[in-house]
Amino acid sequence: MIKVSNLIKTFGQTHAVNNISFEVAKGETLALLGTSGCGKTTTLKMLNRLIEPDSGTIEVDGQNILSQAPELLRRSIGYVLQNNGLFPHYTVAENIAIVPNLLKWDKAKIEARTNELLEKLHLPKEYQNTYPPELSGGQQQRVGLARALVADAPVLLMDEPFGALDNVTRSKIHAEFKLLDELKRKTIILVTHDVQEAFLLADRIALMDKGQIVQIGTATELLFNPANDFVKDFLKEQHLQLELKTIKLNDIWQYLPADGRRINTSQLAATAGLWEALDTFKFYPRENINIINQQTREVRSVTFDQLMSAYSCFKNQVPHE
């Protein structure tokens, strides 16, 4: 869907983006992860021509983005800004209606679509006629998201959309985000400096440093197959938590004892993550949980200790470089 080749952008002496190439498949979510100043925003802005690259090509749907007028290109790409960038002089409804108005939708259609999005994003209808400065940061972010989604553009670019939120609100929005059907069919590039967010929301992660992509791959690949020390160091601090969140019960299914006592207790699908499984334990002696493998209809009942030893078996088995 998106193909970026040999992208270079320099600002004076700063090599903001230094020869980047990657591809994003249709419906996939790619996270651009990295520390502040590594060139994430610059990369993103080149995709909708807010910044023109010095060299390199970008194709969307097999078409070079330079072949289209920038205004038209941008109307077909949803964009969520780092600082939301809502129009302070437009109401929430008017903010959401910006692109539809540019696309000359009729009034009824705009209204219906706005209501639909407000509902999906859990924004009370009364907020339609309020102005952004009167909203909380979380609400503003949702409006920003609604504005990017409203025209149902196939591609969505998001620049640290949840950066300005407190942890509780962020987790809540993360959860909603994962469930939002609108997003499932979109090709998304998500810029973040938050490792957890990248691991949680993205199918693949491109870890960037000093204008270059250091490693691009799935969460598992980054965690268990880091390309170099930079990747390792980058993930080190939250390594355990990331692993536990990344590893699915399916991954360690083979190490789970098949002969556990099946008692009436909590049930969990094997597609769930290890973190979630650990979270389910209430921690009283000899507590079991049942894990159901949907494909084989097999159920394995395990204790906390059994789960942890399966995890360490899995880790020993994964090849480290």
Partner: protein
């Protein structure tokens, strides 16, 4: 106080026609220029917000324009645009430009760059970004600039009357010249109220929330246009000749009022300041002007004085005024001062004034040259320590005369001389004399009669503008009242006069005011 208010109200009621016209002209002038200033300033402000490197020079030039004194700016306009509405509007426009350009620029550059980027990222083109995002968000700042410009314009528009563009300045400056407080207030109070009113209305507009501003902004140009229409450009008259009279002249019995009542003169008249009147006559913007008969510009611009055949202008013969105690103290003083008597007629004085005012020679040199040419000049004698104190009002002719007197006293007597020049107007110099701070200064019979003695109308009528009877009257009255003596008249008469360009007067065979009247009637 109560009584005073009464008379002001009476004045305003009496002059309500004029007041209304002037107020409407004032509003019109303010808003035509404001409208054009917005038309120019807004795009210019937007443009320099795009091409930032131009912002410095443009704002700098607009800033300099605003520091030019209003009168000077109006003066510069005359050679370019003549007199009347056009130069006034251009001058006002130049004043209004800075606040509008500056605020448009600050407003637009102050728009949150995130919001602007969002607008671009949504797929707006540059015009959509400008009209839907930048202008609405900058509007409060822009409106503040327009508000400032409006208040400035209401103020500066009072000066428009100096170049015959009308407005409330006609009352204000006419009142100042005529020392008529009611007239000043009748112009100043409405002008101040206009400023306050417009400021208030614009502040309301500014406080409206974003939503309502969208509509209001569309209405604003329409409103401006309507207000502008109050000003009908006063040059659309069919009169053969155009006269330009000073506000002072307009209001005086021995001025325009007399022209109308005694001659029945009907001429298309505009009110204009003395500073630009002569120039306007030269530039053929005006055909007839009210001036002073010995003004140097008469010669500089080749104008001639029309003969006042019905004698409505009182004589203003100049003569030295001396304290009687000084005459006793300095026995040789009277004969010395009288040496000038009869030597300087109107055209000689005009010539001398021309040399100081127009050729910028020093009064001292002009005085010395004249005395040498007439053989009166003598080198300075030894001083005996006694000092005669000479005074003068603050204009060239008086400086020249004082210099001549100074040289004569030094040359013919052994008194020392101390000169106190630049004693402002009549009141100041005359007060200095009665308070025994000066001994001698040159004065004019008409001034003595009307300004100092404030002679009643029946006396003025009785004197019938005769040179000799007026002189005799003031001489007797001053002696009686102030113990001050009028010495012999110097010869010239620096009175009000109607003037025309020599060439035009010759072509039309106009020599007297009656000739002018006849020409206008047929």
């Amino acid at each position: 106080m109560n009584e005073h208010q009464q008379t002001l109200l009476e004045f305003m009621r009496q002059q309500s026609d004029k007041l209304l016209v002037q107020t409407l002209q004032h509003i019109g002038l303010t808003f035509i220029s404001l409208f054009i200033a917005v038309l120019i300033g807004l795009p210019l402000g937007i443009y320099i917000s795009r091409v930032r490197k131009l912002s410095g020079p443009v704002l700098g030039i607009a800033g300099i324009l605003q520091t030019i004194p209003s009168i000077a700016l109006l003066g510069f306009m005359i050679p370019l645009l003549g007199i009347g509405a056009k130069p006034a509007i251009v001058a006002l426009l130049l004043y209004a430009l800075l606040p509008i350009v500056r605020n448009t620029y600050t407003g637009i550059t102050g728009v949150d760059s995130n919001v602007k980027e969002a607008a671009i990222a949504m797929g707006m083109n540059k015009w959509q970004v400008l009209f839907k995002v930048e202008l609405p968000l900058a509007m409060p700042v822009i409106l503040a600039g327009i508000r400032t410009a409006t208040v400035i314009n209401v103020g500066v528009a009072t000066l428009a009357s100096y170049i015959a563009a009308g407005g409330l300045g006609e009352f204000i400056f006419g009142g100042i010249s005529l020392n008529n407080t009611n007239m000043i207030l009748a112009g100043a109070i409405p002008a101040a109220m206009l400023a306050i009113l417009f400021d208030f209305l614009l502040s309301l507009l500014q406080k409206l929330n974003f939503k309502k501003i969208k509509g209001a902004v569309k209405m604003a140009p329409v409103l401006l246009l309507i207000l502008s229409c109050f000003y009908f450009i006063p040059s659309a008259y069919g009169s053969k000749l155009t006269a330009g009279f000073t506000p002072e002249f307009m209001g005086r019995q021995d001025g325009n009022l007399g022209l109308v009542s005694k001659y029945g003169l009907k001429i298309h008249t505009i009110v204009i300041s003395d500073a630009v009147m002569y120039k306007a006559a030269k530039e053929k913007e005006l055909d007839v002007i009210s001036g002073y008969s010995t003004d140097g510009r008469l010669k500089a611009y080749d104008l001639i004085v029309l003969d006042d055949d019905k004698k409505i202008f009182p004589p203003y013969y100049a003569a030295p005024l001396v304290r009687e105690d000084a005459l006793k103290k300095f026995p040789q003083l009277e004969t010395t001062l009288n040496k000038l008597s009869g030597l300087i007629n109107d055209s000689v004085m005009t010539e001398l004034n021309y040399r100081t005012d127009y050729l910028h020679q020093t009064p001292e040199r002009v005085a010395k040259d004249f005395l040498q040419a007439t053989g009166l000049y003598k080198p300075q004698q030894q001083s005996n320590g006694e000092v005669v104190r000479l005074g003068s009002k603050i204009f060239g002719e008086q400086y020249i005369l004082t210099n001549m007197y100074s040289m004569l006293i030094k040359g013919y007597t052994n008194y020392g001389v101390e000169t106190k020049t630049g004693l402002g107007g009549t009141k100041i110099v005359f007060d200095a004399m009665t308070n025994n701070q000066i001994d001698v200064y040159p004065e004019y019979t008409g001034t003595g009669l009307l300004a100092i003695l404030q002679a009643p109308q029946n006396v003025i009528n009785r004197l019938q503008s005769s040179k000799d009877s007026t002189y005799a009257y003031v001489k007797a009255a001053f002696d009686d009242r102030y113990k001050i003596k009028w010495l012999k008249p110097i010869g010239f008469n620096n009175a009000y006069a109607l003037m025309m360009r020599r060439q035009q007067a010759n072509e039309l065979h106009i020599k007297t005011i009656s000739d002018l009247n006849r020409f206008l009637k047929y």
